[in-house]
Amino acid sequence: MESCPSVKNILLLDSEGNRVAVKYYSDDWPTNSSKEAFEKSVFTKTQKTNARTEAEITMFENNIVIYKFAQDLHFFVTGGDEENELIISTVLQGFFDAVGLLLRGNVDKKEALENLDLILLCLDEIVDGGIILETDANVIAGKVASHSVDSGAPLSEQTISQALATAREHLTRSLLK
């Protein structure tokens, strides 16, 4: 049977292999421990490679994993080994760029955790139950941003007031520690 291209999981891990946000769409890893084992193995296997300029690819347990790193975040997308690698790569690129847009260029773990709602919405807009919904980063980010909690300022504007407000927040936090 010819099947629709499908994604098995999308993982966003930090620079030590811990979860930031993950979504599984396949029964290959039924328990949480099997998921964690997979994440650990895939992280260890790819740790030493340099996947910052171009997306890299590896095969692992009858799956292909395409991945890219930015700062202290590791992005992974997994597909079956019969899948078209370029399709999976497009999904990764869409996710990667959309996150970049949503985090306004500050793609690091802290930023991701502080905007976890955006990341989760983003994942929701890319793949539904394994089927690809959208691969264009602008469209994905647009769908997320229009639902986001702070739906005031549009994505492309970085107003001074916003920057000041964020800075004030940081200062307050550090003073209170």
Binding site: E2, I57, V149
Partner: protein, 684 residues
């Protein structure tokens, strides 16, 4: 944020900072009470939902009670008009997977959203509903879903179509009723709507060959609006080609032109999908392959690892069946040997090993030598297997290939890797007669420095089998004997057996072997001494050059027919009686249950029927028997008597087994002849 300079200690603290630091399920569930407030603070509620989602994502589980409570509180949030909050509500409902009786609570709210004027609500409400629905609810909302499929808003249409694909697994009859709407959606101008509609329509119609064929025919002539849809179409086209009459030998394959045309598409995923599809056609000809391979060859030199990988993996598969078609790519492949991505490098090497011709083998081996030290064991094993296949393909090249294998055997490596090399050398020795001598020598050199006992013993055993058959077996003796001096007990025992084999089979070597075996009698280890003694005594005690008795050879080196497990159990159960232990009574089938003792007891009427006697009675019996025979009386104390060994098959007219009695300087063979057929009488 970057325009503010942070102090050092700020930075340190921030390294550990996480908005979820110290988060705890109980506390968050408490916080979730805020959902019940009459005045909803949508921002706060969204934050709490985010925390709940974070917990779930990290692997935290909610008990049934907790999940139900959260779910019920969440449903209250439908009162809020805040878009952001509603979106989070959708997310968490999907994560909580409510049961069918809980679902009812939200059904009306979701259905309202499904028909709302706000487009963002409609699409997502559809997805949530379809995720949590069951058959009865589905029939209620079916009408709306059909409308949604052909909705002007592409996001809504896609949501309905994708939900349809999922629902097809659980409620196929219902979804099949939407064929007309789905068919209409295939004509949509919106790129992804067409993709989703095509996927759904194909799944609905997949068992109807004619329908699929019509679908493919119309779309290959029509407009396909997205690369993803194009890839789908390529897959369906391949299916149609495969299922169309195979006896269409005349002229071109149907739809081949379409596939070939896709090789010029502007999207790389389409080009690759088409190339791959062509390479996987049944009985594909070189002419058909050529354009696909050309395109894949271009990918080999791409700057993107994904492209290089995809291309080399496909070419690797093609090389298995059409190596000649891939040889044009050899130059590009060779440059991939040094690729940063080790998967790509390994695939390149194994492809070259398949497509290489005889003249290029030496050059290829040189290139691979440097490569091997860079890659991990799992890749190395793949390469070793490919080298073995290459050697079997070009047996005349065995010298350089065996040298290569021997060299890598001596380098660093794990057990599995070295085992695969040894196995490969053994296969080459067996299949290429000319390679035997050098192969055996390579193995001898390896065991001089081998860290794995298992491999040493295997090789020694193999030497024992093959060595005596060579033209000059004596040259292996030194290697084997050195193992007796230098290695651990297991290897020493194995070496003793091997030496004995040489002595048994090659009569001219018997004297030398005997000298060496005698030295082994003084070994520290029991097993080594026992074996040495056994061989010395059975092979003919005086060390002269005589032919070894065939029976003895079988006894020493033939394989034991009885499974070891059963023999062990039977021996344990054997109650010593007047009758000697009968090895033929041991069941020959291996039983997998651990209760073998009970079972084999049932099968042995001889041993168990007799009354229990003192354990030493057999020995005494033998002693009495032997000392009563005058010729044996000078032998001294009986050292040990072995269990009887069957020398004839179980079904013969008379059963002969032998018991070995071992004295200080003599071994007495007691042949027990038992008449199995009552009518006959055995005469001397």
């Amino acid at each position: 944020m970057s325009q503010f300079v942070k102090k050092d200690d700020d930075r340190d603290e921030e390294a550990e900072y996480s908005p979820f630091l110290g988060i705890e399920k109980g506390a968050v569930l408490q916080e979730a009470r805020v959902f019940n407030d009459p005045q909803l603070d949508s921002r706060k509620c969204s934050q709490v939902i985010t925390k709940l989602l974070y917990l779930l994502n990290q692997g935290e589980t909610f008990t049934k009670v907790e999940a139900t409570e959260v779910f019920f509180s969440v449903t209250k949030l439908f009162q809020s008009k805040d878009i952001g909050l509603r979106r989070m509500v959708y997310l968490i409902i999907k994560e909580l997977s409510p049961s069918s009786d809980e679902v009812i609570i939200v059904t009306s709210s979701l259905m309202k959203d499904m028909n709302s004027k706000t487009d963002v609500y409609r699409a997502n409400a559809i997805r949530v509903l379809c995720r949590i629905t069951d058959g009865t609810l589905l029939t209620q909302i079916e009408r709306y879903l059909k409308q949604a499929i052909v909705d002007k808003n592409p996001v809504v249409a896609s949501a309905a179509l994708v939900s349809g694909i999922h629902l097809l697994q659980t409620n196929p009859e219902i979804v099949k009723r939407w064929s007309n709407e789905v068919q209409e959606a295939v004509q949509s101008r919106a790129a992804l709507v067409q993709f989703h509609a095509l996927a759904l329509l194909h799944q609905i119609r997949q068992n109807d060959r004619l329908a699929v064929s019509k679908l493919v025919t119309s779309l290959t002539r029509g407009t396909v609006r997205s690369p993803l849809a194009q890839c789908l179409l390529i897959r369906y086209t391949s299916q149609v080609i495969r299922e169309s009459s195979m006896n269409n030998q005349s002229g071109d394959r149907p739809f081949y032109d379409y596939l070939e045309g896709c090789l010029r598409h502007k999207a790389e995923m389409v080009i690759f999908e088409a190339a791959r599809a062509i390479t996987e056609l049944n009985g594909v000809t070189s002419r058909e392959l050529t354009p696909a391979i050309t395109v894949l060859q271009l990918f080999l030199s791409s700057s993107k690892p994904v492209l290089r990988f995809a291309a080399v993996r496909t070419l690797n598969k093609v090389a298995m069946t059409h190596p000649m078609a891939v040889t044009n790519c050899n130059i590009d492949m060779e440059s991939l040997i040094s690729d940063q991505n080790r998967s790509i490098a390994t695939l390149a090497i194994t492809t070259l090993l398949k497509t290489g011709n005889e003249s290029g083998v030496d050059r290829l081996m040189k290139q691979i030598t440097n490569f091997m030290s860079d890659i991990a064991d799992e890749f190395k094993i793949v390469v070793v297997d490919a080298i073995r296949s290459l050697c079997l393909k070009f047996p005349l090249k065995y010298r350089s290939l065996m040298n290569f294998l021997s060299n890598i055997l001596r380098e660093e490596g794990g057990f599995e890797y070295k085992k695969s090399i040894v196995d490969s050398i053994v296969i080459l020795i067996r299949d290429i007669p000319d390679a035997k001598e050098s192969g055996l020598l390579h193995l001898c050199e390896f065991i001089e420095d081998c860290e794995f006992t298992y491999l040493s013993t295997q090789i020694l055993h193999f030497l024992g089998v093959e060595g005596p058959k060579t033209s000059d077996p004596s040259k292996y003796i030194r290697y084997i004997y050195n193992r007796v001096i230098l290695e651990n007990a297991t290897v020493r025992a194995s070496a003793v057996s091997t030496l004995a084999k040489f002595g048994a089979v090659v009569d001219s070597l018997k004297p030398r072997v005997f000298v060496l075996l005698r030295r082994c009698l003084y070994d520290n280890d029991d097993e080594v001494r026992d074996r040495a003694t056994l061989y010395l005594n059975t092979l003919g005690g005086d060390g002269s050059v005589v032919e070894t008795d065939k029976d003895v050879k079988n006894f020493l080196f033939g394989s034991l027919e009885t499974p070891l497990v059963n023999l062990e159990t039977s021996l344990k159960n054997y109650e010593p009686t007047e009758e000697p232990f009968d090895i033929s009574s041991v069941p020959k089938e291996v039983k997998s249950q651990p209760l073998t003792e009970k079972k084999s007891a049932g099968k042995k009427p001889t041993a168990l029927g007799a009354p229990p006697a003192a354990p030493t009675s057999t020995v005494d019996a033998y002693e009495k028997l032997l000392s009563s025979i005058p010729e044996f009386s000078t032998f001294g104390q009986l050292f040990k008597s072995s269990p009887p060994v069957e020398l004839t098959e179980a079904e013969t007219e008379y059963a002969v087994n032998v018991v070995k009695h071992i004295f200080d300087k003599h071994v007495v063979f007691q042949y027990n002849c038992t008449n199995t057929i009552p009518e006959q009488l055995l005469e001397n």
